[in-house]
Subunit: 324 residues, 2 copies
């Protein structure tokens, strides 16, 4: 089996690569080649199969990133929410043109590969009172979400035409992201717990009552791996899935953090930010997510498990990465 | 007021241009300049204002097509359904890249112009049993519809950002189109009545019980003109509208034709076509269309009026055009 990860240098891409290197297989098939592609060539990976690392512009995706007989492509390359809002051209180039380039590369393969596309909760509207049904319309309030929803349409059509075999996973906001704050408008969702767990102060741009639709890195990784191996004939024409994430208020998250590390909550300071609040305020706080569990996507566990996962997997690597 | 019609050489573009030339105004404002753009430069137009005709590729839209101080742009340029299905590259180039080129040209203007975008019933699924709500999800079963739905998302986002001021009108299948059969999968919807009204035989690729969501050229033109002058603050963030068309079975249409011209029905011969039936079979047969009438979009009248409109406006021009 040959696998490519677009955005293979990002933290979710790396989690998937690490999992593949550890198990050596996907869906019961042995892996013989993994290609990691990102804007800068990803760092090498120790694995029981060949690993090729390529850097480049996804809008001009080199065919080497999708070698002959590629079976599975994880497509995680993206310009994230606040960055796509700040730079319209760049968002369009990566989030739309990059998508077309992927389709064109796949059309050169003898057999349509499975493509696992990471779409986003940001492609929906609804706000704090929402509990969206699985067939809810995507009416994004930000450029990143609009580009993701448009990409889903184009990938689903390419799938219908037999160029690819896509599963569009609308990931919740990932929490707790390891590493440092980034340019996503939702960066605070992780920072507000990650920074205190590192012993650092942080700010909260929204009220504590603000609810978010989240998933831990381990759940997101598990869903993407499941999407890569699932039977797509069960999806019919609807290739989009809202995985069963967790709806939590920021206050609930801070409570769970405090239970895990008493005193941590004192490191969080309110600092309302209208720009951030306007972007994330349009995202829906919850999904019914009834379809995905029936297709084998595991339901998310509670906030205490989410905090424990970070402490076990990502606290030390984050300390090392940031020189703390 | 300065107006541009992209796809100004097509039959709906021409109907709009003719209306503007006749009235000299739009929404109570006098027109001082009209630009008609199409793949081949549209024929000149006799009008009480300046008319410029430009030919070119919309994916590389020349700024001259959107001159400084353009107030309104009708965006009707498209590669239609069966053509976009037959040529993926061409559909993507015109229906998606052309859209991006339009946004880029609009960003160079001092004031965001009104853009009236013709989206389509083909951007929805649902089939024969559907009666779609105004907030129904667009889940197209054809490349043309997928490109239209994706373009709506990108145009709505550009509108939110203040680059343009868009209204996306999802036109029903236009019936009765003047002229000759074209490459749209829905071409038969017009042919089945137009050809007999011209005294010609024709074929029917679907059963007579097959229902279609249609609008006459006069209603489609009236809706697009209304969208060009309406108060878009009433739309909020949802820039898409399903205008109040007509749900009719092919049999109903043939009955109305027979009432207008006894004996015409005998010129229609059944000739089932699975390719056509598969494309149009996914389109919804009806919409509730409750939002648009409240915003001033006129409800469609009955089939007898639709036939009468063709006989009054388009029969003779069609005869002349086709040398009949």
């Amino acid at each position: 089996m040959k696998i490519t990860i677009l955005g293979g240098g990002g933290f979710l891409g790396r989690k998937i690569a690490d999992h593949l290197a550890r198990t050596g297989a996907l869906g019961g098939c042995a892996i013989r080649e993994l290609t990691l592609f990102d804007i800068h060539a990803p760092a090498p990976l120790d694995a029981p199969f060949n690993v090729t690392c390529i850097g480049g512009d996804i809008a001009e995706l080199p065919q080497a990133a999708i070698p002959p007989e590629t079976d599975v492509i994880f497509h995680l390359a993206a310009v994230v929410s606040a960055a796509a809002e700040a730079d319209y051209e760049l968002g369009r180039r990566v989030n739309l043109r990059g998508n077309d380039a992927l389709i064109d590369a796949c059309r050169k393969l003898a057999k349509p590969p499975r493509v696992v596309f990471t779409s986003s909760v940001a492609s929906f509207s609804g706000g704090q009172d929402a509990m969206l049904a699985d067939d809810a319309r995507q009416m994004p309030g930000n450029s990143y979400g609009a580009q993701k929803a448009a990409a889903e349409l184009i990938l689903s059509d390419a799938s219908r035409r037999g160029f690819i075999d896509v599963v569009n996973i609308r990931l919740p906001t990932i929490c707790i992201r390891p590493g440092a704050p980034n340019k996503a408008a939702s960066s605070f969702v992780s920072s507000v717990v990650r920074e205190p767990l590192l012993g650092l102060t942080t700010t909260l741009p929204v009220p504590e009552s603000f609810k978010v639709w989240i998933a831990s890195p381990a759940f997101a990784t598990a869903w993407l791996l499941h999407a890569a191996a699932m039977d797509t004939s069960l999806l019919g024409t609807d290739r989009g899935l809202n995985p069963p994430g967790l709806c939590a208020s920021v206050g609930d998250m801070l409570d769970a953090m405090e239970r895990a590390m008493p005193g941590a909550r004192a490191l969080v300071q309110a600092a309302p930010d209208a720009v951030i609040a306007n972007i994330v305020g349009t995202w829906p706080a919850a999904f019914a997510a009834t379809r995905a569990p029936g297709l084998g996507f595991v339901r998310h566990t509670d906030l205490d498990a989410l905090i424990a996962e970070f402490l076990a997997n990502d606290l030390e690597p984050t300390r090392m990465m940031r020189g703390l």
